[in-house]
Symmetry: C2
Subunit: 211 residues, 2 copies
């Protein structure tokens, strides 16, 4: 009430990140406590598709924060981080990124919070992935013929792997293919990791709206 200069009787919107939207009326506040009453309760359905981005985090973490912010705005259901041979960053502070997702969700008035997972080794991504998912791995050496929108199969659930600046190794690429990942390209230009993540997110969302 102090920061937003609200007073008793004012309306606020509360969301739970799972499609619930609550119109509330502020009652009163103590220094560390606010009371409000739910006036109206709405439940929205999420999208029918599920996009899971799995990405090698960049050295500078603000580029990952940026990706989370923008992908929440465009539409993403799940983000994981992966440790590859050429990774520049072996660890990350996942709670900071989760907070970023919450603030991006509120700012873009999105009702669904994506799940954000901590970093896991490349091998674990491969062995943990489900069978009924359309799986893709982006890599620079993939040609135009493998452009994501040319090879993607329309489905309910997508998983897309984005490598580090040094790209996936040949060995990682072969292993991914053995686990059912289709190699794809994201277009003609060479993209930075976080831009590649965003472009993948835009294209997979486009597929849902496209005739």
């Amino acid at each position: 009430m102090r920061v937003l200069r609200k007073k008793a009787g004012d309306q606020i919107l509360v969301l739970d990140g799972k499609g619930g939207l609550y119109t509330c009326i502020l009652k009163d506040s103590k220094p560390r406590e606010v009371r409000f009453e739910v006036e109206k309760e709405e439940q929205w359905d999420g999208p029918e598709h599920h996009i899971h981005l799995i990405i090698a985090p960049t050295k500078k973490i603000d580029r990952m924060e940026w990706l989370i912010e923008k992908s929440v705005e465009i539409g993403i259901q799940e983000i994981s981080f992966v440790r590859c041979m050429n990774s520049e960053r072996p660890q990350l502070k996942i709670d900071r990124l989760q907070k970023k997702a919450i603030s991006a969700m509120k700012q873009s008035m999105n009702l669904f919070l994506p799940r954000i997972h901590d970093i896991i080794p490349f091998q674990e991504v491969l062995t943990h992935s489900a069978d009924n998912v359309n799986k893709y791995i982006c890599h620079v050496r993939s040609g135009e013929n493998n452009f994501l929108l040319n090879v993607v199969k329309k489905g309910r659930s997508y998983q897309i792997l984005i490598g580090p600046e040094g790209d996936f190794t040949d060995k990682e690429l072969i292993q991914a293919e053995e686990h059912g990942y289709t190699p794809v390209s994201l277009g003609e230009n060479r993209l930075r990791t976080e831009t590649a993540g965003l472009v993948a997110c835009v294209l997979l969302n486009a597929l849902q709206v496209k005739n």
Copy 2:
């Protein structure tokens, strides 16, 4: 030579923003002057398509700088700024944005510098636009059926208009349609101005690679 710690005999790459790539050898330097010799001269062809983004600048200029940086990386040939009824920013410093484009071009190793134009009134955009261009106007009220990739015609030259946070007015929309602009949407989520610009850029580039 000082900033990059180069010395005589070292190689540098020079580009002209028009597809020319020059491999050069540094000769010597004075405090305010560097001499080099061109060792190898290459000329690359630009893309066959032309994407012209026309956008209402955001209040905070860093969001436009961000758009320029990312769209240069993804691929853009021309950017103009437009002053609309609901515009939040009537002027801008175009030379700063042009410098941003140059540094983005160098950083992404792109050989082509997009043309960046100063802000003009909405009416002027409409009356100045050529006939042999595929013209689109993005607006929030446009439904899923008008999704850009569902209505776009494959061509050589595209112009796409992105409005301010308050969107285009009904009057502006009608005028644009009278001048041959097709109303389109960019997907299901409501996007901020700079994100809409980027998504439009990704989708129009995708169209070039798509079968």
